[in-house]
Structures are given as structure tokens and as C-alpha cells.
């Protein structure tokens, strides 16, 4: 009888080759161009696909096992949190609004990116890159789902979370996030990779994990922490993939540098235009504070990104065009964003408030060059009005940037006195932008951005402007936001009253004493 030969286990490199490059086959009865119609039109020159490898040598079997292990651990923590009424133990009910913001802005955004990466994975002609892109597609979906699961415990007890995917599609103030994700999803597969894996994940995503992970932990939210922790492990890999992809494209052909540089300029800036949300999350929405957005920017963006581009300089890549302007804005971003959301507080599906006196002092300490001079007087006035029963609400439709779709709330670099306006004419029509960099994005592809459905314009088109007292709030009511419960001043909210009734936040207060 023949002796059975035990198959030797493959080493990591061989297994990676077997599970990526070896899965490739060349087309026979159709041309490769027909099978991969998106492979070339972006103008890149790729000579040898075999040169690209996932720096982590991740294969589907290993991925499956790792994600499974992570899942078991995090659901154990999340279940324990729910069973122990963890929602009562968070620092303060104001914190729940940070969860709402993540759920309204980022979870649906990741779902769109899941679809975008699935499309790119189907159309990516390089075998190893196809596998990596497919895994990222699965991870974007997983992160979106994890956040929804982690937030579901809060959804039972607090308002403003019951229909977030629909709001993401249609709420005026979520348009910047929707537009960001859809711009990436409608780009070619390589631009998508540079946009998300490099532009967002490599350059800016750490700023989101500071409030979503450390901030959540600090405020007693042990439901979101494991979800974010699990996502961050994947995002760390996405960052490495983004950098590997950019290097690969630059090494393949010198002609690629100009295209990649344009994408880096564009996607750094588009990602940066989501930062107002992250900045106010950290500076205003965490009742127990960890560090300021400015500190997080210095530590997790300014230093590492400068180092990264020093490393990429030999490949002909420079810091993004908007880099210096973005760095200069760190003193203003969170304050301008919160000022906008506070004013429009009746028309956003989370609560807003003026920070307590000790919190205002904290902001002053963290922002000595800007807070007292520019932003504290506004908050003081709002607090005074609120105290006399005349809470300030802005009921006029905001002008929005044609590209990033943010309200035009940003000031000129180095001149916080002046709102920045840019405009151009295209085919006889005026278009307006919040910044040079959004204008440049438009100038390169005007036909893409003239299609933008700017929420304020949509509302004006749908409603007679003078027939509705508060068109913005009405636009939220039309998409299922319960404007009496979900919007407005935190102090008078059902959330605040319930939390008080339940004796919420006591554990943390006692722990502090």
C-alpha cells in the first residue's frame, strides 16, 4: 500500500502567491479590455501588475479567521454593556449626540464605500490588488454594520437614530458626507483607491479614531469602543495599502506622477472638508474631554503626514496643494462648525448646546490664539439668549459650496474675519466655492460637479420659499425626523430629561469624587 504523503503547509509568501497571483487567468475568448473596461481610461500606465503586493500578505482564509476572532471578542463586550444598562453609565446624555453624529455621517458613508470598493474589485485588472480591494469592500461593510450594532443599545433609549441611512441620503447637513462618498464611488477604480485608502485613511482617518475610540472610552461608552477598535485594526491595513498603491503607481511610470498628485490634492482636500464634523465631535460633543482637535491634528496628521511625504518625495510626489491652509485652519475648524450647527440646531437630528463655563475655559486653554477673540463672544451671547427663553435659531437656507457641499462657513486663511468666497463661470452659469481647492476640483471636471444637488437649492425648488416659516426644519420633517424630539436645544430635550430620570451619569460622577 502506498504511504500517504502529508502535504507540507505553505509558508506565508507561497500561500499569498497561491491565494492572489495564482488565482489570475488570462482571458481567451474575450479581450482583457472588454473584461476590465475601467482598467485604462484614467490614463495611468501600468507595466507589471505582479509588482504590487499587499504589504500584509493578507489572504481570504487568514482574513476570515482574524475577523471572526475580533467579532467574538467585541460582541461579548457589547452584549455585556447592553445587559448591564451601560447607556446609563455614560458621562452625560450630551455624549449620545456624538454617537448619533457617527451614525448619521460615517456609518452610511462607509456603506457607500463598500459598494464602491466592490465595484473596483470587480474591475481591477491586477490580481493581488483585486483581492486587497475585495477585502476592503468587505471591511467597509463590516465597519458600517458594527457601528449600527454598537449604537443599537442607545437607539432603544435615545432619540435621533431611527432612520439614519435615509437621512444620510437626504438631510441637508449630511450632504458633505454623501457627496464625498459618491464622488469617490463614481471615480475610476484607481482614483477610488487613492481617494479612500490614501487620501482619507492614510492621511486623516486617525483624527476620527481619537474621539470615536479614546473619546468613547473616556465617556464610558464601552459599546462603541470595541467597534471602533476593531475598525481601526483594519484601517491601519488600509493605510498601508494606500501607501503601497501610491508607490506602485509612481514606480510603474513617471507619467503617472501628475495624475496621482492631482488625486492626492483633490482627496486630501475633500477629506479635510469632512474634518469640521470630526473637530466639533472632539472639542464640543465629548462631555469628558481627552485632547483638543488641534492637538490630535498636530500629533496624528501634521507630523506623520509631513514624514510620509518626505518618504514619497523621491517618487515625485509633493504635499497636497491644500496642506498649509488645512494646517492653519486647525485653530478655527471646530468652533466654526459648532457655531453653524448650533445656529441651525432646529434643523439637525441631534442636539446642540453651549458648553458649560468650565468647558469654555478648557476651549480657551486649548485655543489661546482664537477662542476668546473670535468664538467665545458668540457662545456667550447664545447662552444669554437661551437663559432668557430666546434660544437662537437660524431659519435661512445656507449657501453651499458646489463641490464639498458644506455651508460656506469657512474663513480666509489667516483672516478669520472674512468668509472665503470663490466663484467661476461655466457654460454661462455662476458656480460658487468655499475655497481655492474646491474651485480647482471643479475646474478639472466641471461636468461632474454641475450635476450636484445642493440641498438648499433642492429645498427652494420643492417649496415656495415664503410659504414655509422654517424650510430647513420642514425638509427634515419630510424625511421622518421627529423635529420635536430629535432636534434643538439639548437642555430641553427628552434625552436630557430621561437621562436625569434614570439617574444617568451617577457612576462616573462618583468615580470622580
Amino acid at each position: 500500500m502506498d504511504k500517504r504523503v502529508e502535504k507540507k503547509k505553505l509558508d506565508i509568501a507561497s500561500r499569498y502567491a497561491a491565494m492572489s497571483h495564482d488565482l489570475h487567468w488570462d482571458t481567451t475568448y474575450q479581450t482583457a479590455d472588454k473584461v476590465y473596461p475601467f482598467a485604462r481610461y484614467e490614463g495611468l500606465q501600468i507595466h507589471d501588475w505582479k509588482k504590487w503586493e499587499d504589504p500584509f500578505h493578507m489572504t481570504l482564509d487568514v482574513w476570515w479567521r482574524q475577523q471572526g476572532e475580533k467579532e467574538r471578542r467585541l460582541y461579548a463586550v457589547m452584549d455585556a454593556f447592553a445587559q448591564n444598562n451601560g447607556q446609563i453609565g455614560v458621562s452625560d446624555a450630551r455624549y449620545i449626540n456624538a454617537v448619533k453624529l457617527v451614525l448619521q455621517v460615517f456609518s452610511p458613508l462607509k456603506y457607500t464605500l463598500h459598494r464602491a470598493f466592490a465595484h473596483a474589485a470587480r474591475n481591477m485588472p491586477g490580481d493581488a490588488m483585486r483581492i486587497a480591494t475585495l477585502l476592503q469592500a468587505s471591511e467597509e461593510l463590516r465597519h458600517s454594520q458594527l457601528e449600527v450594532h454598537a449604537a443599537s443599545v442607545y437607539n432603544k433609549y435615545f432619540n435621533g437614530m431611527h432612520d439614519t441611512p435615509r437621512w444620510h441620503e437626504q438631510a441637508w447637513y449630511l450632504a458633505p458626507a454623501k457627496s464625498f462618498a459618491e464622488d469617490a464611488a463614481t471615480a475610476g477604480p484607481f482614483e477610488l483607491l487613492v481617494a479612500i485608502s490614501f487620501g482619507f485613511d492614510s492621511l486623516l482617518s486617525d483624527t476620527l479614531f481619537v474621539p470615536a475610540m479614546s473619546g468613547a472610552a473616556h465617556n464610558g461608552d464601552l459599546s462603541m469602543v470595541p467597534a471602533s477598535f476593531s475598525s481601526q485594526a483594519d484601517t491601519a491595513r488600509h493605510k498601508a495599502l494606500g501607501i503601497a498603491t501610491v508607490k506602485f503607481l509612481l514606480q510603474q511610470d513617471p507619467a503617472n506622477a501628475a495624475i496621482v498628485q492631482r488625486w492626492v490634492d483633490k482627496w486630501f482636500w475633500r477629506s479635510f472638508r469632512l474634518m469640521p464634523l470630526v473637530a466639533m465631535l472632539q472639542d464640543y460633543m465629548l462631555p469628558k474631554r481627552i485632547s483638543s482637535f488641534k492637538e490630535a491634528w498636530n500629533e496624528f496628521v501634521e507630523s506623520p503626514v509631513t514624514e510620509l511625504f518626505a518618504e514619497l518625495a523621491p517618487y515625485g510626489l509633493q504635499l497636497p496643494a491644500g496642506w498649509q491652509q488645512a494646517c492653519d485652519a486647525k485653530d478655527h475648524l471646530s468652533h466654526q462648525a459648532w457655531n453653524m450647527f448650533y445656529g441651525y440646531g432646529q434643523a439637525v437630528a441631534f442636539h446642540t448646546w453651549v458648553p458649560e463655563p468650565d468647558e469654555l475655559n478648557w476651549l480657551d486653554r486649548k485655543y489661546p490664539d482664537s477662542f476668546d477673540r473670535w468664538y467665545r463672544p458668540r457662545l456667550a451671547y447664545y447662552a444669554q439668549r437661551e437663559a432668557t427663553g430666546h434660544r437662537y435659531y437660524n431659519r435661512a437656507l445656507p449657501m453651499q459650496c458646489q463641490v464639498c457641499q458644506q455651508p460656506m462657513m469657512f474663513t480666509e486663511q489667516g483672516a478669520p474675519r472674512w468668509i472665503a468666497y470663490r466663484n467661476t463661470q461655466h457654460a454661462g452659469e455662476a458656480f460658487h466655492f468655499c475655497s481655492d481647492h474646491c474651485e480647482h476640483i471643479f475646474a478639472h471636471e466641471p461636468e461632474k460637479y454641475v450635476q450636484a444637488k445642493l440641498p438648499s437649492h433642492e429645498i427652494l425648488h420643492a417649496q415656495r420659499a415664503d410659504s414655509v416659516a422654517d424650510p430647513l426644519q420642514a425638509s427634515l420633517a419630510a424625511i421622518g425626523v421627529d423635529t420635536a424630539r430629535d432636534t434643538g436645544e439639548f437642555k430641553h430635550s427628552e434625552d436630557a430629561q430621561n437621562f436625569e430620570t434614570w439617574g444617568g451619569g451617577q457612576d462616573m460622577k462618583e468615580a470622580q469624587l
Binding site: F38, R378, P398, M409, A427, E429, E447, V450, H457
Partner: protein, 118 residues
């Protein structure tokens, strides 16, 4: 530049003048960011500056403590970033405002809540 695409890529503007019964006008009071961003209105081109001042701007900005202190004779008006002096009985159209024009006004001496541009 044009869009790189796998086929023909031609799209009309979504917000051309024809889509709206009245042209869109963006309005801003400089150095008053209690109103965080400029606003957008659909406003008849026949609207006079007198009406604009008395009704429209009053409705938009009347609750700001600076508003009642405005000396209208000293207000500086801008079409985009170009300063002009409006004739108060003349209309937006008479002054060259069209679809998606920007009207800004500045009130020297009034610089928002405690001088913070708020």
C-alpha cells in the same frame, strides 16, 4: 478640462436658471457670523433695494443686536466682491444681479457680537 470617462459624458447643469421660478440670490452680512454662512433666496429680479432693506434683510438679520444700529447711509454694498452704490428705488436686475449672484453688505463700525464678527 473634461471628465475622463469610459463613454460620452455630457450633463447639463442641475441648477440652471430655468429650474427656478425666480433667480437664486446669495446674501451675506459681512463680519456677522452668528449667521454662519451666506444664505440663499429665490427672489424676483424686480425686487427693489428699498424692499430688500426694509423687508428681506430685516427678516434675515433683524434679531442680531447690531441690526438696529445700522446707519444705512454708511452701508457698503458688494456684488460679489465689487463695491457699488445701489439706487434704493431700483431693482436687483437694474443693478446687474442675475441667477446665483452674491449680494454682500458691510456695516463699518459694527463688527458683530463684542467685535468678534459673530
Amino acid at each position: 478640462m473634461s471628465v475622463a470617462a469610459i463613454g460620452n459624458y455630457h450633463h447639463a447643469s442641475h441648477d440652471s436658471a430655468a429650474r427656478f421660478s425666480d433667480p437664486l440670490l446669495y446674501v451675506a452680512w459681512d463680519e456677522h457670523m452668528m449667521f454662519a454662512a451666506p444664505v440663499v433666496l429665490a427672489l424676483s429680479p424686480d425686487t427693489t433695494f428699498e424692499h430688500l432693506k426694509a423687508k428681506v434683510l430685516h427678516k434675515l438679520y433683524g434679531e442680531h443686536p447690531d441690526f438696529k444700529l445700522i446707519d444705512w447711509a454708511r452701508v457698503q454694498w458688494f456684488r460679489g466682491d465689487v463695491m457699488f452704490t445701489p439706487k434704493m428705488d431700483k431693482s436687483l436686475a437694474d443693478h446687474g444681479f442675475g441667477h446665483k449672484s452674491v449680494l454682500r453688505f458691510r456695516t463699518p463700525g459694527l463688527e458683530g457680537l463684542r467685535g468678534s464678527c459673530g
